[in-house]
Point group: C2
Chain length 330, copies 2
Amino acid sequence: MRMLINGPETVVDDALRGMAAAHPDLLVDVENRVIMRRDAPVAGQVGIVSGGGSGHEPLHGGFVGPGMLSAACPGEVFTSPVPAQMLRAAGAVDSGQGVLFIVKNYTGDVLNFDMAAELAEEEGIRLGRVLVHDDVAVVDSLFTAGRRGTGATLFVEKIAGAAAAAGAPLEQVEEIGQRVNDTSRSFGVALSAVTTPAKGTPTFELPPGELELGIGIHGEPGRERRSMMTSREIAEYVVAAVLEDRTPTGPVLVLVNGMGATPLLELYGFNAEVQRILTERGVSVARTLVGNYVTSLDMAGCSVTICQVDDELLRLWDAPVRTAALRWGI
Amino acid sequence: MRMLINGPETVVDDALRGMAAAHPDLLVDVENRVIMRRDAPVAGQVGIVSGGGSGHEPLHGGFVGPGMLSAACPGEVFTSPVPAQMLRAAGAVDSGQGVLFIVKNYTGDVLNFDMAAELAEEEGIRLGRVLVHDDVAVVDSLFTAGRRGTGATLFVEKIAGAAAAAGAPLEQVEEIGQRVNDTSRSFGVALSAVTTPAKGTPTFELPPGELELGIGIHGEPGRERRSMMTSREIAEYVVAAVLEDRTPTGPVLVLVNGMGATPLLELYGFNAEVQRILTERGVSVARTLVGNYVTSLDMAGCSVTICQVDDELLRLWDAPVRTAALRWGI
């Protein structure tokens, strides 16, 4: 075990205390596990709440702030948060304009967010929901019926957040978030397994010299295992898988995302291959983001998410945002 | 080898092509290995050039942009850039106000930046230099006479960059950068070894269950090796080492920096311990930055840098910056 922790049982609480200390703009309720904008609720704006298991940082807590999430609810590592968290968050961020839940498609998350939505509606909060399910690698997986929600979550949270910040009503913010999910596709690759604090040993076996194509962000199995490939070969495989599922008919956002332990030097090199292939295939790239955003603890590897945008979505992507992990314009 | 690369010989060029594709604001000269602001030279402003071996990303290329570096010169992995790169960069960013070189204290970097400075001065460019040597772990090390330059580089580059952006003359920008170095101290810890693309195997042996206290950012040996410690124990050791060397007499900036493969979840948890200890010791923290900024490829571990600031330095730290890795206000 090579972890910088006090023990598996305090990992999430310790991280929340550390976030609170680093980011005075955030209100971090460690006991109830809610990370909020300090100025929530913001009058006239729809509140946006997301959350999920910890271990994917900066997702979701790193995306809380003006122009993106109003609040995030972290669960234990790779474990859904409980409804009481989302209910508390919804109550705290609702300005009367309603609240949008952004939920990654994992069985536990879906159930718990649905239960929180029911309870919140009983309290008179109007609720909308966007279910993110962008991972084309497999249908049904450990923890998931249908497709897994991965990198597109960042695009949905940013763009829906910008719509809310612009004062759009709940139905419109929900429709915009839905549209982003619908035009987004992802595919991930693992070069090493992931080790959770509770288990202390890798959650699956991946011998050196092999890689897993189509991996999930919890180390769920992908499509196939192969002998190590070059960055160029991996990019060809990944981009083909994404474009096969949906061929863009307009400009796209590209996220070249690290799983946690792959150096930024390598991610940029991989991005060079991804961009070359997209250009060769006639896909027009409007914006690119390279870095560790939707991670899987100490897993080495990467994923590519491609999201087709129209003028409205691109303008919302470019709108100012101020969070711990994504910030521009303010 | 679990690397996302085409081969050791193209790692740096591939990464530069990937940076160029992701950041249209940057002018990336892949052939000559210079990353520049596209709008350089900026009239009336001192140019700021840094650089060093690759493998520490986002340092330095990720810090090029308004409010920080004018240009960065990446060498091969863990290898100094050559004088021709810094000479080219200096010529390209000099608006007539002169150029400041920010150099981490490693023998190769010092020699090559000095040679570039001589050549640039022969071409009529006024040159200043700040040598960063903040690592209190050891005096003299592999590649270094004196102290190693590590995390403080980020503080020097940001604050000197802000001074240059505000129109300060060369002597003043240099003095400010010098002041930041003088009040900064760092200490790093490795939980795993680092593997370079060229070698393909770890550059040193660190058995599971042990950690190296006082490690350098190239895996250079530290002070001692111990059995695995908790996050709390590591923080006690690291903060004590930093404060023993220099006790702040005023507010500080804190950088809790990941070495590359340690999850952000763990870095935030570690930050909670660091902040608690600083508070207990009466150190007033003005700003905190948590993340992977001065890395060592796939090494697991972290470092802490503490920089005492006066009102002027804090104002310059808070000033707007727009780079790939550090951005706020614009």
